[in-house]
Symmetry: C2
Subunit: 241 residues, 2 copies
């Protein structure tokens, strides 16, 4: 059995896929599947097998040639690499539409990211309860971050308040931010920022629809549906067999 701690630096592209493998492997484990091949995992993840093997090789040599990967062991290794061996409490800034949906969506806590607090500027919202968590005033942010040892902040404010929210989070001691507002945040380079932007996603789809339309002159609308092929989700690229 191979050794121990965080080995090589893992490529970002791989880091982004590990959570997908993890989810699939956890499902397989639930179904008592003991062992899985790179081929099968690739199929379920909608990528190709060489990529799966290369990705997993960054964690160490945890497979068995001629057999495959032992599912529960691989689950454990990926969790460890992603830092999912303990919970990461998060704080949500903004108790509007989106903040409510996020808090109400239970999957947060289940997946190791319990909501340690929700804050808002609006005094009218303070005190209401969302997903079992009481909304507090934004001035209490630092206190929440410190006392609950929060490292990750989620920005669910209107666009105009997002930069302010980011600055407050950074001042409070948060080092990673998940931003749902459509703005480029200005933060110290040491802060890890990820963005989820609805409009961007839709506009990317629009681009592809538009190409489709200009490619075939008439009736670009999908006529007879092709066979429902293998998984091709994730990045939506063509899945070369």
């Amino acid at each position: 059995m191979p050794s121990d701690r965080p080995r090589r630096r893992i490529p970002e592209a791989t880091v982004a896929r590990l959570p997908v493998y993890l989810r699939i492997l956890a499902e397989q484990a639930d179904e008592q599947v003991e062992s899985i091949s790179s081929d099968r995992l690739a199929e379920l993840a909608g990528v190709n097998a060489a990529k799966v093997r290369k990705d997993l090789s960054y964690l160490g040599s945890y497979g068995t040639r001629g057999v495959g990967y032992e599912v529960p062991y691989l689950v454990y290794q990926i969790r460890r690499e992603l830092g999912l061996t303990h919970d990461w409490p998060v704080v949500i800034v903004g108790a509007g539409n989106l903040g409510q949906a996020l808090a109400g969506y239970g999957g947060f806590g289940e997946r190791g990211f319990p909501v340690a607090g929700i804050v808002d500027v609006d005094p009218a919202k303070v005190g209401t309860v969302l997903g079992g968590v009481r909304v507090r005033h934004i001035d209490e942010l630092s206190q929440i971050v410190q006392s609950k040892r929060v490292n990750i902040g989620v920005i669910a404010t209107p666009t105009a308040s997002a930069q302010d929210a980011a600055e407050r989070l950074v001042r409070a001691g948060v080092t990673s931010i998940l931003n749902f507002a459509p703005v480029v945040l200005s933060v110290p380079r040491s802060i890890e920022v990820r963005k989820v932007d609805l409009a961007v996603e839709l506009q990317i789809l629009s681009y592809h629809e538009q190409r489709r339309a200009s490619a075939s002159p008439l009736r670009p609308v999908a006529g007879g549906l092709g066979p429902l092929g293998g998984p091709s989700g994730t990045s939506g690229r063509t899945a070369s067999a």
Copy 2:
């Protein structure tokens, strides 16, 4: 003034940034800014200037050497390239927590993606009104897609129903899907799929937090905050000056 239609194929990475440039340029236009340099646009977008120029060069030569880019004209060109010269009605499948938040979030329609319909399997939800749109039964999906000429579907169902939702959307004639459920969808390769996955984003942040923690043995919590540097949002990479 250069010519007309969809020229070269644009790299995916560029397509993903065009919406960001567009948003910034539209804001600049609102503030009566007539002209902008690649340097300035890069700063506002949190990327470097060479990238901005290369990206824009795929649209054609729309800048003026020694001067910069004419803002309103560039806005127009990007909109055209992204297919945003007309609206793209979308249909939302799933009227739960998330579906409600999406429908309630006005920014959808404003940005050229009006909600043409919301459907759900649950008869109890049918008839309720979300964001001004009445929820209809999922069996009416095809009818909505056909009559409103919808090309883009949004999946906001629970995980277990997402694949079914995808198949219904494809059968109804939708050719692009934005999927919020944490599953790899099986759809024909001709269908463009984009994924928004909360858990994946948080797990990527967790990975970086975990590295941070194992790098510095004690008190990894951000102490004195660094200066709030230039934009570094988007991908969170280091922003070379």
